[in-house]
Symmetry: C4
Amino acid sequence: MTKEKIKPTLKHKLHEIIFEADTKAGKLFDVVLIASIVISVIVVMLDSVRAISDKYGEFFFYIEWFFTIIFTIEYLLRTYTVGKPFKYVFSFFGVVDFLAIIPTYVAFFFPATRYFAVVRILRVLRIFRVLKFVQYLGEAKILMSALKSSRRKITIFIFTVFTLVVILGSLMYIIEGEENGFTSIPRSIYWAIVTLTTVGYGDISPQTNLGQTLAAFIMILGYGIIAVPTGIVTSELSNKEYKVVSTQVCKECSMEGHDVDAKYCKYCGAKI
Amino acid sequence: MTKEKIKPTLKHKLHEIIFEADTKAGKLFDVVLIASIVISVIVVMLDSVRAISDKYGEFFFYIEWFFTIIFTIEYLLRTYTVGKPFKYVFSFFGVVDFLAIIPTYVAFFFPATRYFAVVRILRVLRIFRVLKFVQYLGEAKILMSALKSSRRKITIFIFTVFTLVVILGSLMYIIEGEENGFTSIPRSIYWAIVTLTTVGYGDISPQTNLGQTLAAFIMILGYGIIAVPTGIVTSELSNKEYKVVSTQVCKECSMEGHDVDAKYCKYCGAKI
Amino acid sequence: MTKEKIKPTLKHKLHEIIFEADTKAGKLFDVVLIASIVISVIVVMLDSVRAISDKYGEFFFYIEWFFTIIFTIEYLLRTYTVGKPFKYVFSFFGVVDFLAIIPTYVAFFFPATRYFAVVRILRVLRIFRVLKFVQYLGEAKILMSALKSSRRKITIFIFTVFTLVVILGSLMYIIEGEENGFTSIPRSIYWAIVTLTTVGYGDISPQTNLGQTLAAFIMILGYGIIAVPTGIVTSELSNKEYKVVSTQVCKECSMEGHDVDAKYCKYCGAKI
Amino acid sequence: MTKEKIKPTLKHKLHEIIFEADTKAGKLFDVVLIASIVISVIVVMLDSVRAISDKYGEFFFYIEWFFTIIFTIEYLLRTYTVGKPFKYVFSFFGVVDFLAIIPTYVAFFFPATRYFAVVRILRVLRIFRVLKFVQYLGEAKILMSALKSSRRKITIFIFTVFTLVVILGSLMYIIEGEENGFTSIPRSIYWAIVTLTTVGYGDISPQTNLGQTLAAFIMILGYGIIAVPTGIVTSELSNKEYKVVSTQVCKECSMEGHDVDAKYCKYCGAKI
């Protein structure tokens, strides 16, 4: 935050530790936090496996409370130290932090069901704070902005794919019919998606000759049109890469396109 | 259409509303139309699910008639307001608009079959009018023109893939034979397509050692050659992106398509 | 061939018709040939379907002989009209043309088996003559040369994939063992290929927790490394595209990088 | 190594043969080595197939010892001729070379289990020495460096995919439940990975309408986001290709990495 911190209060110090990662204490805090998140998520996962849950259920119960209390303290400290508490509480990470602790308290009053498990598993989202820590943010931003500037093309693509599976699925519903597992149009559309995306479960598969021919056509189509989103993202990423490289303009010859690490104009040799 | 509409007649006004999206009424019309299309398509889908159809069949029947009458009025208005009605009627969207309403009338005289469902589901194509509405047309054109200019390469690719699956499928027919599910050459070719496109239903799978070895080869081939259509579309899209950058028109010969760094027209040599 | 054909002999005329596609007769010949190939290949395919073969077997027998005699005449004419008959006979297409006719004659003396079917199906390769006809050759060459210049990278990639599936398959053989279908190392490697290439038949699938974890890892690996061949081919194709566009050098300012349709240098305006 | 070898000792000569491939003896050694590796790996594979092992078990036993002794001699010679034996022994290939021979000796004292098979199969890694032989190293380096410089973006991608499958898998666990095969969160995550990567075994597949809808969403997601790693690697590879073009070194500051069209050093401004 502010570069010249004169007489930092406890609140300031805590803020440094909890939200930043450029001090030693801040880095340690982040490492401990990530470890806590990973362990608590693994516990939630294992707790859903009956065989393991039957054996270690009580042990998991105590671990769950341990992490919930830790995360609660962390949540309260975040709310306390942050400049605008309300903005934090209703921000994406604020909500995720809240959802990470609330299910355990609710389960204390109501019998625990498997529905709580999934809410708790959202803790995994908190790991994205790690991005800040290892300074991967820049790369993430390039990826995000590439996806963002190609969102229109991707929308059109998904739109076209959706129209295709609706029509092809319905066609398959007529061709194969209920006797071959294509019991309704939605189910046939589900099959068309399974086939077009080359997933191919095999839970429903065409039996008639005409059905297999159409299926073969859908497969080749799906195999081919995967090129479109790839082409979109690639050409967008290549452009980004370019843009990152070139922004400076030479003051002498006003040529553009210099590398980021360039100190002299590559066309006229003038200092940039 | 014409920028200076002096004394617009009712016909003109209706045309503005139905075909354009730059007036408030036109936008509202589009939104209502899209909603109608989406709802009517969902109704057609749900109607094909026996459990739902048994329960809400009659309700769906009335909704179906409601939208059919709406779409009929819209169709007549389009035919009335458009400059060249015949051109519209036999255009792509004209046919789609017609197919969207006719099955319900036909089903009135003949017992309804599941075949009508699919004709009615073509209504989903009408949603593509939305592209105009949200101005995604430009992006769609880039994608289309990228696919268009790479159509020869894609044809060669599909051609090669087709030849490959015919030969590999036939080879598999010999190796595995009828006893392992490869009952005929067309069926073996179907299997080869399922495998090469990495769909992999598993309804037919090789049992012999030689068959599994050939299958492994086909898989790696399919895994590798997917790079070809992707490479084609990507390099084409990157080129398009380039062309998008160059928008200058020569003042002398009014030719387009110059590079960004061009100082002189490449067709007539005039300074740009 | 030779641009100024004075007094073409019958041999020359036939050569023009059979091998070239720039005369009317030559084009007609090509169209008839392609139709013959397609029909004869479809007949071979349908003949392998027992139900159809039982019904139309005799009919297919006569069609087969009809096309064999046609292809035989064509083969003899090719050998007669071509400049160097031996070179043609032992060329790729010469062998394919020969294999297209010989099985029917052999089957006359020996009882026909399904093995002949596959040899006859190689006729499908003859369709590639069509490339010359529709002048797709240039595009095919670009694709071929892109694959050629990236063959080293692709070799390394296939090499790495092969090593990966050998090690991962063997590891899976230990983890899952014979009781879960991983009966031997070759079979486990087959499974690893099915999984890495994202085909996923499901005929063998891991049952143990550790096995499913390793399988998940292999899947994500396979999902990710498909980027490598795609990247190789794409960057190669983009380079080709580039090269096709730019070869001219301006005589005045000796700048390169002009478009193929450029008549004037885009940097100095001099005529190219 | 050193360009001017005056009076090469036996040790030097052996080193040349074993480690290099620019002499005739060195090339022969490499060819023999590769053949030995390939044969011994195939023997290990076949030995795991019960039917073959029962028949040729004893034969395989002798082959195994034959190659083990050969590889042992090779290992000792490598250790003897290399400049820094310890560095070699603990290098990647040193460990692989050791693991290639040790299981046979261990199996001599302890009953052989299938676990030894996999250790021996690591011999396949030794084939990578071939890269040096056929001089594919340069291409391998380009690929490696492309992957290396995109490792951050790939990490973020894998990170995101991992988070997605954890959340989507858990959601599916709630929707489908134990009665449809989604018996625990880890198993549901396994299913989510199988689906997202478009592998699609079909051993677990959603049965409820909501489950199939979510599955369809996951498939389309997986089908679309495969564009991201592809885009990353492609744009990175294209950049590398670019860098390959620029090989000039500044005479003043000896910095590399100038563009092809650079006339002045971008670091010190000196004319190139």
